[in-house]
Amino acid sequence: MASRLRQPRTAGTYGRRLLVVAYLFLLVIWPVALVVQKTFEGGLDNLQTALSDPVVTDALQLTVVVALWAVAINTVFGVGISLLLVRYDFPGRGVLSALIDLPLSVSPVVVGLALLLAYGGTNGTFGPALQDVGLQVAFATPGIVMATAFVSLPLVIREIVPVLHEIGTEQEQAATSLGAGPWQTFWRITLPSIKWALVYGVVLSLARALGEFGAVKIVSGNVAQQTQTATLVVEQKYQDFEQGSAYATSFLLALIAVAALVVVTILRPKDDTDGD
């Protein structure tokens, strides 16, 4: 019934639409547009200055490396734990399912503190032992990766789990009955079904990973050209009154995050808004 989608348009409809658009315009659209505008105020100068500054380029490089590691870890872990949570039964499943969302509610600063308490080089619980075997976690890349993985951990899982519930087990059982092994079933049936949810989760994780600030600030030590990530550079440049560089770096970070989101929103098959 195509007709059901159409509702009579009243003054209320337009009022609500106007309110929502105005709200989003003032809160998000205009401010973001201003940053873009400020980045290009002097043409491409800001971007050129920023990209010729080794502090910025090193930080960007570190950020990308860290984000890729964190996203890779979270993707593998996320798919695995989602399958376990949805398809298997084991004691404590409910508790685990609730705990998975924990990182979303924890302040990045607390994340940093927690990792420091566990992996701090001198007085962390595991830090000294790890250092003895030659692995420095805190104030080094592994620590930054862990902090980043921590904050973006639930994102993949939150996207996949509902879809896994939705598709049910029938298709997988059908594949098994046709002689597919567990791996074949996973690659050829399960994975294609959760593909878009997974891509969306990965993109959200990537955006979150590129942008992590608080947790990284604490565990990284924030040493320029060594453990300073892009977001930390933004803060430093802004406070050092190199606002052009701060805006340019922000723009680059935002660009990657928003571009990834836009691409996924466009590519992802449109959800059925019908509700049927």
Partner: protein, 283 residues
């Protein structure tokens, strides 16, 4: 700490229960579970437990002293108050935005879909910078909230925007139009239908979104760094207090504030669950 994901998708949760439990663990899935749990414990559970332990390590004295410190108390109060106000606004505006995105049809709607996700995707430090450009000293609107309490409010409003929208939207999509028509044919006005039929169905989703939004609000740090100025007793939030304590090497005090934040988030989530149940039943 946050709500069980089942409350985000009531439909699937019901189906899950109806279908019964999954398969028992096999050998390989058991190993997988072991690896996953080890990683999860090393990354999340153990470090967080260490925070809680640290906070009471030196007895309750550090804990009490930290909380009675006027600067810390003020920071906690500011954080919780602003997060509460922002959550209330998000409940109203988030539901409204979700409604418009689902029920209305107009040019540029898909653009708004992306706009909703921007605060989530944008690095928090950039979020602060973004807000500063419109609501800072050089504001083209002539509104300067930098270094005031308002800046905290604004930053939290920005970063928590997606939560209620994104939890309510799917539930609203699945909501059966028939049900609203049934209410109308029984004589219910639009408002009655909204109050007694639609809102009770959305309540769990709104609650889940509100809980996420509040939890995110009290833990926000990055977006405030450039915007609020971190003025003690005025615009300093709990996360900044923790950072200051860490920088001063006072990990016990930092852990105390962190534990309080965790407890507040937990309390909020439990409270919201209760409220949601009440709203849903009252219909």
């Amino acid at each position: 700490m946050t709500v069980d994901s089942s409350s985000l998708a009531p439909g699937t949760a019901r189906r899950r229960r109806a279908r019964g439990t999954g398969a028992p663990l096999t050998r390989s899935s058991g190993i997988g579970l072991g690896i996953a749990l080890t990683w999860f414990s090393l990354l999340v559970l153990i470090p967080l437990c260490l925070v809680v332990i640290q906070s009471v390590d030196g007895g309750w004295t550090t804990f009490r002293e930290t909380l009675t410190n006027p600067q810390t108390a003020a920071a906690l109060r500011l954080t919780v108050t602003q997060a509460l106000i922002v959550t209330v606004i998000n409940v109203v505006m988030g539901t409204l935005i979700a409604w418009v995105l689902v029920r209305d049809e107009f040019w540029g709607k898909r653009l708004l879909e992306v706009v909703i996700d921007i605060p989530f995707a944008l690095p928090t430090i950039v979020a602060g910078l973004v807000l500063l450009s419109l609501y800072g000293p050089d504001s083209p609107l002539g509104v300067n909230v930098a270094n005031t309490e308002r800046s905290v409010f604004l930053a939290l409003l920005f970063v928590t925007l997606p939560f209620v929208v994104r939890t309510v939207q799917p539930v609203l999509m699945e909501l059966d139009r028939d049900v609203e028509e049934a209410a109308a044919s029984l004589g219910a006005s639009r408002f009655t239908t909204l109050r007694r039929i639609i809102l009770p169905s959305l309540a769990p989703a709104i609650t889940a979104g509100a809980a996420l939004s509040f939890a995110r609000g009290i833990s926000e740090y990055g977006s405030l760094v450039l915007l609020s100025g971190n003025l003690p007793l005025k615009t300093e939030v709990a996360s900044v207090r923790i950072l200051t304590y860490i920088e001063n090497g006072n990990e016990a005090a930092a852990a105390s504030v962190a534990t309080i934040l965790l407890l507040v988030a937990l309390a909020a989530i439990v409270l919201l669950q209760v409220v949601s149940k009440w709203v849903a039943r009252r219909g």
